[in-house]
Subunit: 215 residues, 2 copies
Amino acid sequence: MTPTPPSERTRVRRYNWLARYDRDTIVAILDAIPHCHIGYVADGQPLVTPTLHWREGDQLYWHGSAASRMIRAIEGAEVCLTVSAIDGLVMARSAFNFNVNHRSVMVFGRPSKVTDPAAKEAHLRTMVNRLIPGQWERLRPMKPNELEATTVMSMPFDEASAKVRVGPPEDDETDYAFPVWAGVIPIRTEVLAPEPDPRNLPGVEMPAEALAFRP
Amino acid sequence: MTPTPPSERTRVRRYNWLARYDRDTIVAILDAIPHCHIGYVADGQPLVTPTLHWREGDQLYWHGSAASRMIRAIEGAEVCLTVSAIDGLVMARSAFNFNVNHRSVMVFGRPSKVTDPAAKEAHLRTMVNRLIPGQWERLRPMKPNELEATTVMSMPFDEASAKVRVGPPEDDETDYAFPVWAGVIPIRTEVLAPEPDPRNLPGVEMPAEALAFRP
């Protein structure tokens, strides 16, 4: 994909050699890390709300209660949606070069509500089935009042930047002669065995897809 | 500890039965999850920057380049520092009751710079030694220009709220008769074996503390 040139606000300043603006990198991070932090301003006050997002094509989606402070504040307003994960502790030879391996994406935009009920339900179905394929069809069907109480927000990610750091420490050249151990301690997300609800009906079977779940 | 009564902006609205305002809960989350997202406003635009924080007593600290956009924008300004981790996917019997087990803390405040160079160095030492005990003393000593290029920010967390969800799904009472598997898929952070830098000097030994590293 052709890299999108950064805008004034997405241009990465710090560690700018780690910056990526190509859609493939941005999509890979947005899809791999479903946990985002949405920054917005309410009454002049910055707020950061963690939530789960998902992507469909060129749009990001997330949902919330129709009555939530975040949902009410962000419609049509500027938000900054940041996704980040730490992949390792980079133990350099100096404190100054200590670092973390990480992936992050920062998206700027103005979210809008999905107003059509059928479209909203289709997006929620996509969210559930991305987590556990086929699960939407196994669940107790959604009720109209539940659909009404749920807001789905959507935002393009055409104004976005990514930062990726991988690999060993990058020390000052003279520091490689300093006798201290250096390296990386990798960190990753681990998924454990599913824990059945004690109130499961006798005979209900865990869907095989639950065993394959990766966030 | 006595719970601090929530302020108008820390009072949790959504899922408010998950809210906690006691210092022990807040401290436990701030200490267990070193990865935070700092929300601030620059030229009317919300920005969310991921970084690492650490706690000393009643103050939170983080550091950055003295020249960074975030560091320049936040001194004395309102910020919202949010820490959050997802601990599991809660597979309920309806899409509406799907959830995530999670821990989060939201802190409001106005950060200030640590200006005294000796204090700044002491805080950086604490940061490094919290990650890997004793590592500061093993590293190539910090240079005055490095200390100058590093800004340490500090902020109290006396205006904070936490949210914690644990345990099995909470379904509508009538849904417990619906024949679908329900349960929790736990998620956690895994630390892998340290990867030595290929440029390590022969004979340098990995500190035992690196093996005990937990974020």
